[in-house]
């Protein structure tokens, strides 16, 4: 009897241990990512571009010098400067009439200098390891127009956020209609037989292919053969194939949950199959379709292997669908690239924090919809 109790006790202990281990792993991962990444997540991180941008500008001094106080105030330019944490000269304040807002770059185009931009060179004086006083003096003494070298600091994730949104939209536009219509065919029209089995077999296989093979395929066909170069279109096309199984199966679940009586009463009233589908079936399946879309968004946000080799790793806001301007790194792609290129776990974890927030929000939305969907089904 006691050996039975001992055995039971050990097994129960193992069970509790396993469950605790699983939860603990999550805590460790989240803790690690937050610990390393949270300090780096601030408004600068969320609002700046990734690469810093250096521009040479020419600016005319004010005719009536501005009135301002403070050690770093430059009356002839209407700005306040200070040293940032790297001892570089940073513009911390700008009067509304400051000529720097209407500076022009060397090509003659206007370039609006903003707060938090750095001044690294004024005419021939390089602003390195200077004191605020000296910098102010150089700027005051300089003859108008002053030639300045202005650096807009980077380190922000705006391009990745925008790229992610573009790719989400593009992939869904391609995959959602095909997926939903496929599900409707499979559930409403298809008759059991060879064609149906073939389609189902194909979908199951698509679901199991690892994303790196999608990456290979996408790179070969879209980037190289169709010459789209690394672009969001190539990435989205590849992603839409990855999404098809998810969208199809979730939509099918939603369609299956609609009672046959709905369809039968519609047909009994004289509607055709098509009318039944788009007037009765589809509207009732909408919550399920919404869940499918949110699951897909989650998948897109987390996908990296396939995107890296189709959309590229350049941190820019894509300017076109294909071609050289269209390469765009998403949050996940950039995360990997940061670790690979610089091993900077802190920045990588900051991006990871943003990713995790996105995923948790998507999870919660999807749960809410499922809850409401199930609640209405009870009716």
């Amino acid at each position: 009897m006691s050996s039975r109790k001992l055995k039971d006790g050990i097994l129960q202990g193992l069970i509790y241990l396993s469950a605790a281990f699983t939860v603990m792993i999550l805590v460790v991962i989240l803790g690690f990512v937050l610990y390393k990444g949270l300090p780096g997540v601030n408004t600068r991180f969320l609002t700046r571009m990734w690469d810093s941008k250096t521009t040479f500008i020419k600016v005319d001094k004010l005719e009536t010098p501005g009135t301002g106080k403070g050690e770093g105030y430059v009356p002839s330019l209407g700005i306040t400067i200070a040293l940032d944490k790297d001892k570089k000269v940073e513009i911390t304040g700008m009067d509304s009439n400051s000529p720097l807002k209407e500076a022009i770059n060397l090509k003659g185009d206007p370039y609006q200098v903003k707060k938090e931009d750095l001044i690294t060179k004024a005419d021939i004086k390089v602003f390195e390891k200077v004191s605020v006083k000296d910098a102010v003096k150089v700027l005051e003494d300089a003859k108008s127009p002053i030639k300045l070298k202005v650096v807009r600091p980077g380190g922000g994730i705006v391009p990745m956020l925008v790229s992610t949104i573009y790719i989400i939209l593009l992939s869904l536009i391609i995959a959602a209609p095909i997926g939903i219509l496929s599900a409707i065919y499979l559930n409403e029209y298809a008759k059991p037989g060879k064609v149906l089995n073939l389609i189902r077999f194909a979908i199951q296989n698509l679901a199991g292919i690892p994303s790196i093979i999608y990456g290979l395929f996408g790179m070969l066909v879209f980037v190289q053969m169709l010459q789209m170069q690394y672009s969001i279109l190539a990435g989205s096309l590849t992603l839409s194939i990855i999404l098809l199984p998810t969208i199809i199966s979730t939509t099918e679940e939603a369609l299956k949950a609609i009672p046959q009586t709905y369809r039968q009463s519609s047909l009994g009233l004289g509607a055709t199959k098509l009318q039944t589908n788009y007037k009765v079936v589809l509207p009732n399946a909408l919550p399920g379709i919404l869940v499918a879309i949110i699951l897909s968004i989650g998948r897109i946000v987390g996908e990296s292997a396939a995107l890296m080799w189709t959309a590229g790793t350049v941190a820019q806001i894509p300017g076109a669908l294909t071609g050289n301007e269209a390469g765009a790194a998403t949050l996940t792609t950039k995360l990997y690239w940061i670790i690979k290129e610089s091993g900077d776990l802190n920045s990588a974890c900051s991006v990871a924090v943003v990713l995790l927030v996105l995923i948790i929000v998507l999870n919660m939305i999807s749960k809410q919809i499922t809850k409401r969907f199930l609640a209405s089904k009870g009716r």
């Binding site: 699983t22 292919i209 776990l345």
Partner: protein, 316 residues
Amino acid sequence: MSMNDKNSKSKEPGTDMASVRMKPNRVRDVIEKIVETIFLICALASVISVIAIIVFVFWKGLAPFVGDNAYSVWAFLTGTKWDPGNEVFGISYMIIGSVYATIGAILFGVPIGILTAVFIAEIAPKSLVRIVKPAIELLAGIPSVIYGAFGVGIIVPFVNAISPRPQGESMLAVICVLTVMILPTIINLTEASIRAVPKSYREASYGLGASKTQTIFQAVVPAAKSGILSATVLGIGRAIGETMAVMMIAGNPIGGIPTSIFDKIRPMTSNISMEMGYASGMHQEMLFATGVVLFLFIMIVNITLIKITNKVGDKG
């Protein structure tokens, strides 16, 4: 008289309605047929995609083994060195690395997964389930690059500390991370299977005098066998196909069959991903060839899975 008139009046519209109803609406029928065909084409999109992927990957991947400069398939599959600069392409050590890492992940992941699933489905009070279940859903949703960052930041230094080798990137690190990554898959499916076991099984077992633990491990879990098997097969598929997380922590040497868990390994997925960016010519074709081998492994896994689920479907 007036009544008769009324009756005859109401009869005429009735007759007209009948003739209107009987006339077939050709245009509408044609539209229905067209739309149904469009639906069918959409559904076939999946089939076309799978075929396209297989065709292209195999076409590019089998190319280096045919023709004038044919590379020997045997040398490819059994070679132990990967040196594109000198046109040496051997992936045996990569296959072994992938397989060993996957076996390790399954050895740890399946027991922990099953036990945790048992916890959620059988033992835990509702309050604990409310904590553990969302935790697992969150684990399932974390992108693999974040697991990679976790691997680089925590697992690799840890392995480095206990390893006789001078580096932390190793098979052990890959096994650790892969185990964590397949846990949610295994737990979810196993839990679903356990919940699907009819109550009568448990009640019969209790009726015979068994304790709760005995019931779980001798009645419920065996009944959920096929679901657990499916979960394991899915876990294998995920582990073999995982790229981003393992790339950063595996070490990726250019040769050498791993003999200890502290050895660096180069899974097939990492091989493809690491050099895809700059490979060309035969080098690139060899990467596709690695993809073909990976694909074959996955196909075997997929077909096994489909066979298992079909068997379950037959048993009903």
